[in-house]
Subunit: 457 residues, 2 copies
């Protein structure tokens, strides 16, 4: 579409300037001292949505930070795409590792360096600018809604209730999210799977007080030793999860799907080097991408107990604690997996030690069906602007797609334009100018293709 | 000896008053704010030794708190007993659980309540008063030396070098220590064995930074999971230590010795209730007293890693840490056991995780030979004043006997007069008046019997 390109070329500088004004606001949802910045940022999003031509732009209060809503309905009978994004960002620490001020964006080597440049202000702003171009060039052919929240970096605690309380407002045919990465321009990809999360906290209690290990050691169960045994019992010698029934509901990927996933380039040496490890470690007979994408995993996220200070103290502690999480895959249900995990731990608990468990989180896994219109539209849009069919990949975690699918009954696609090395959540976060421009173009293609697919059907 | 009894009866009140003046000094070696009290207490010990009639009473400075020395040599050709004790005490926290001021002794139900009443001021003071009585009644028939240190509650870091630097000064035929308990007046006992201690600290490192468990979980070794596996590998299904070669040097107790040890009364229900546990847990085919007395054990004393704050954080941590200790038994050598332990942990370390270990402590186990004169004298002395042959028991830990045996080449006996429920190291520490008086009497018998045994031989 030559007309889009011309408009974009003529307005590039302004687009960047607007984005910079968003990036300058330290909208860190995790830190209470930034409450005013969160408000300022939500108001700026509202302002830019209005400027772009959206209607019914409104700031919706929640129990936490507000959601900004806006829409452009050109014909209620046409398909509607709900765009999700978030205006909050990660804390910027450690500051000393940044080469420039995290909240004073700079362009170096055609990349925008700033906290939030990729995650997610830069990517959500592509959608606002796509709307502007589509409207200004009279090429919008379907309906668009925006749902921009401010709590993604703290686990979206109020998104589910917002969705469920506003089902009519958010009613759409699909959800489009740009809050992820693609492999490269040469190998564009779409993230079709997000693992779910089960998170529990354990408290083991042995004797009623810390004991002297010289006097009692060998005769009384030590909660740390027991906890270690329980954790060790979670995996077998092939690093397969050893909880009975754990894999019963796992959607087994077909050989064909595994072949497709294997198309994503993976440089093991570079991966290892980047992590500073000499060897990878995981479930036998699966590749690294499969281990993190289509296979569940269990990690201890934290452990503590006994004497952790300097020097030697010969204590046989009364208590030991751990935080343990499971990354689930379709079609594992967080409730079932929580129960299986806790029951297994209990089965490995000797008499004389008591176990208290607390379920902290249950986020369902999500998989975008590759035969869905929303996936097809994203794949076609990427093919149109990058010249290559995207590779479906499965990686990462996060429960947002599930919330939308569950609340609104529609599919979700992650069409992200960042790169894996964009340092989201780390110092020197960046987002390429080319990624930004290509993203806007692809989003515009998406809306057109999605409408065509749905209307033709 | 009627003459002893008379002197004791006539001076009881003064003895108690003197002991109270010692107990009033908060000589807490672990806390730097008590440095002045430590000095005050060592000077008071010196004063009371002089008052009792000891010669060459001297305060010896060390790299830490001083040692008080004193002696009464009546004839260099006669046997000499070296009495060890300590004037430092444990911290008194938690104060709120004390029924009276820990440093303002009171007598309730014929027991002295105060920090240090049993451990060890009350018990070491019995030895000073025994000397006084023996001298005042002209019944001292052998030589006595005193070595009273001020660092027992912090691991006696300077005792070994003091002993080795003063071998001539401390030269004796045996060491007598009252810093332990007996089962009861009806079942007097002598603690003949002290387990040794090996203490290491581990640091496991996986990736070069904390990772997002959703992105990397399942593909990268998690140091906490690995540490748990390593700890679990230390024991087999019978709770036997599973380190190859670990038991090679263990002195196997004969059926006869085990029968003797089994004579010590043990009420399992009371033991469990006191600890607040429903079941005991330890090495198969051994009794509780054997598990803590004649068998080695391994305890994790502390563990930490990952996120230990409130709520859920899905981190795959870069590091995990643990403190692990072994209670060794004769004839295990701390150096060998440290090496076996570390090698075993290394053997269970997968590629991709690195292990740093640090050896913190190595204390050798000790066993008083029941055929030695020092044991025989203690047994006979107890029999004389309690009317029953004492039961040999093995319990507890602590490296002091080994330091004397190793440094001076002589045997050590623990002839203690506390009870297990005297709350040493806990609130409401106490020491029975009867224990105090009986202790003095028994010590006087000991010196006479030990001399007779050695001179006759």
């Amino acid at each position: 579409m030559q007309i889009w390109k011309e408009y974009l070329d003529n307005n590039k500088d302004r687009f960047i300037a607007e984005l910079f004004s968003l990036l300058r606001i330290p909208s860190i949802s995790a830190k209470s001292e930034h409450i005013a910045h969160m408000k300022e940022c939500s108001e700026k999003i509202k302002f830019y949505l209005l400027e772009a031509g959206a209607d019914k732009v409104e700031i919706y209060q929640t129990a936490g930070f507000p959601v900004v809503y806006g829409e452009k309905i050109i014909d209620a009978s046409l398909p509607t795409v709900l765009v999700y994004g978030h205006y909050d960002v990660q804390p910027a620490e450690p500051f000393e590792l940044w080469n420039s001020d995290p909240f004073e964006p700079v362009i170096v080597d055609d990349k925008i360096f700033a906290r939030g440049s990729c995650d997610d202000k830069g990517q959500l702003y592509m959608h606002i600018k796509a709307l502007e171009i589509l409207l200004k060039t009279n090429t919008l052919s379907s309906n668009i809604k925006f749902c921009i929240e401010g709590e993604e970096e703290i686990g979206s605690p109020n998104l589910e209730s917002f969705i469920n309380a506003n089902k009519n407002l958010l009613k759409a045919d699909a959800v489009l999210i740009s809050d992820s990465a693609m492999i490269s321009f040469e190998t564009p990809s779409i993230d079709i799977g997000q693992r779910g999360l089960v998170y529990i906290e354990l408290e083991l209690t042995g004797p009623n007080r810390d004991l002297h290990s010289g006097i009692y050691g060998g005769a009384v169960a030590n909660p740390i030793n027991i906890l270690s045994k329980m954790i060790a019992s979670l995996h077998d010698e092939n690093n397969r999860i050893a909880i009975p029934g754990f894999y019963d509901d796992v959607l087994v990927s077909s050989a064909e799907e595994r072949e497709k996933l294997a198309l994503a380039p993976f440089n093991e040496a570079a991966y290892r080097e980047e992590l500073g490890i000499t060897n990878l470690y995981g479930e036998k007979d699966f590749s690294t991408n499969e281990r993190t994408g289509i296979r569940p995993s269990i990690d201890v996220n934290g452990i503590w107990g006994g004497y952790t200070g300097e020097g030697a103290k010969t204590v046989l502690p009364a208590k030991a604690f751990a935080k343990i999480s499971v990354r689930t895959v379709p079609n594992q249900q967080s409730k079932d997996i929580t129960a299986l995990l806790i029951n297994h731990l209990r089965d490995n608990l000797p008499d004389g030690v008591t176990l208290k468990t607390q379920s902290r989180l249950g986020i369902e896994p999500y998989l975008t069906p590759v035969e869905s219109n929303v996936y097809k539209a994203a794949a076609k849009a990427i093919e149109t602007s990058f010249g290559k069919t995207p590779v479906p990949v499965r990686c990462g975690g996060g429960g947002i797609p599930y919330l939308f699918e569950n609340g609104l009954g529609i599919h979700v696609v992650f069409m992200g334009f960042g790169f894996d090395n964009d340092n989201i959540h780390s110092p020197n976060e960046k987002f390429g100018l080319e990624n930004f421009y290509k993203g806007i173009e692809t989003i515009m293609h998406f809306h057109k293709i999605f409408k065509d697919l749905n209307v033709t059907k």
